[in-house]
Symmetry: C2
Subunit: 318 residues, 2 copies
């Protein structure tokens, strides 16, 4: 079995895209980076555990992509440009063919979003992947959770719930037909973080978050941080073959939920056209009330939802 | 059981020490930091796994300290000032009393070294702790592994091997008496990263690394990166009750091994006096030879060492 040092060299050491800012990459006690002038660094970390965040039999290349993509999504939600990442991995054994496939998926995502992999750690242990990601955002322009104001519109990108539906199919809780099956499995295994959208929303949106735990749960974090409530109107079901629960409470899609002043409505519709991405106006922000979210269908009838989100301590796989 | 969001708020959310540079801490999709002018960021990540890096029954508060301290040590080895850290944790269950103790040890170390904890992740899974640490170092002044030159002196701080000896006692492979036992267990459980030494070595040392895998193994990384060899003279045993193998190959002490031009000898002796820290001249750098390290005792007799280091994929606990 190759040593951890050999594995790092073989699969994770690549020349930096931008040596001026990536002063030192993999191979010393630390990496050295130089953020650009006028930029602040957005930093986030996410840990993925077998059995909690992914099925144990997940394809290694898909898992490599997703491990980085879920972190890229945090940069999208801040309106930041992802730039650097570190990867710490625990594996029960250093199966080289598995690592090679994982690295291929990981770097496919790194290349897609222009990220230098500048360091990491490999160790023996139950399967665990921990990525730390760094993005640049012009000082003071990051999209926070705390900026939503009464009267703002609530928007969501794409079609959340597809990943949850794909997982339900794999777990035998739902039966999908093609082409919906392929679409939902792609959403589950190869999520597309909304980086271009996040950056375009700087100056337009008042708050943003990515949908990792479910639309209602993640919007709830915006409402808590902004001390406001929301009234949502949702088509039920959003599509003939699409369960309402998946749309409202399915995590793992990495779409963006965001709020914006009503005056920006036309600009956001135009942005969706430019990006060729569905941006759906699903409600509006209200003053803080006892119910954080007042949810009704398109005729104004209240919708009750049993499960409003996902907590990684109390639930199983998302 | 409290949710992951409640636990983050309760134990890991603290006001920043320096709001001017820590623009946003725990609680959004990412943290926001602003490195100082003229500084580059040193960044490192280390993952600690139960059974590989620590005994499963390790005291939670000690483990909290050590989880951060081993990362602080990477900043010391770069000559950087540690400033920020993120902590991702997987736990089989959210035992609140355990988390409270772990957090106490973790923040004791953060406070000792002036670190803001700016983010993290908590999830369910086999016990795993992944820290990412950020330090500031004046641009171009970081201590790298690659700067050692033939003729340089080789130095080591403190007395490496004490942590390995403490572990051997706990595992029944050695029997220590007080006060050595207490000293070795302190080295194992509460390592003191050499941050002040690392910063003082900027401009003095030509290369540096921290001793995490063993003196010979870690010096070996300097020699590889610098494409040089070394001739070491070691007292055998270094102290009457101190096995040679622990000194040469015991990891986990987080002392610094460094090289410096011979002309800096007196300055380094004076630095040891100032810091009240033993700095021992153990040999010198030579031109690259077939043997990376030529090891002999104080009379010049060759020393053979069976085990020259520690690899986290092929070994058990350090």
């Amino acid at each position: 079995m190759p040593s951890e040092f050999a594995l790092i060299d073989r699969y994770f050491k690549r020349p930096p895209r931008n040596p001026g800012q990536t002063a030192l990459g993999v191979g010393d006690d630390a990496a050295l980076i130089r953020p650009g002038p006028g930029m602040e660094l957005a930093i986030s970390t996410d840990m993925l555990v077998a059995g909690t965040h992914f099925l144990p039999n997940t394809d290694a290349e898909d898992l490599g992509w997703k491990t980085l993509a879920v972190n890229v999504s945090d940069m999208a939600a801040m309106g930041a440009q992802p730039r650097w990442a570190l990867l710490a991995v625990a594996l029960p054994a250093a199966t080289e063919s598995w690592i090679e496939k994982f690295a291929r998926g990981f770097f496919a995502c790194a290349d897609e979003f222009g990220i230098d992999v500048i360091g990491g750690d490999t160790t023996k242990g139950p399967r665990n992947f921990c990525v730390t990601i760094f993005g640049e955002v012009p000082t003071g322009q990051a999209l926070l959770r705390s900026g939503a104001r009464p009267g703002d519109d609530v928007w969501v990108s794409g079609a959340p719930g597809r990943a949850a539906l794909g997982l339900a199919h794999l777990q035998g809780r739902a039966v999908l037909e093609q082409p919906q099956l392929a679409d939902c499995l792609a959403a589950l295994h190869r999520p597309q973080p909304r980086v271009a959208l996040g950056q375009a929303l700087r100056g337009l949106a008042s708050a943003a978050i990515d949908v990792s735990d479910g639309l209602l749960a993640d919007l709830g974090h915006i409402l808590d941080a902004s001390r406001v409530s929301a009234r949502l109107q949702i088509a039920v079901p959003p599509a003939p073959t699409f369960p309402r629960e998946a749309y409202l409470s399915g995590g793992d899609d990495y779409e963006l939920v965001f709020t914006a002043p009503a005056a920006q409505h036309a600009a956001i519709v135009a942005l969706g056209d430019t990006l060729q991405l569905a941006l759906t106006h699903i409600g509006s922000i209200t003053a803080r009330a006892s119910d954080a979210i007042d949810l009704c269908d398109m005729e104004g009838r209240p919708i009750e939802v049993a499960e409003r989100g996902f907590d990684h301590f109390s639930s199983g796989i998302t």
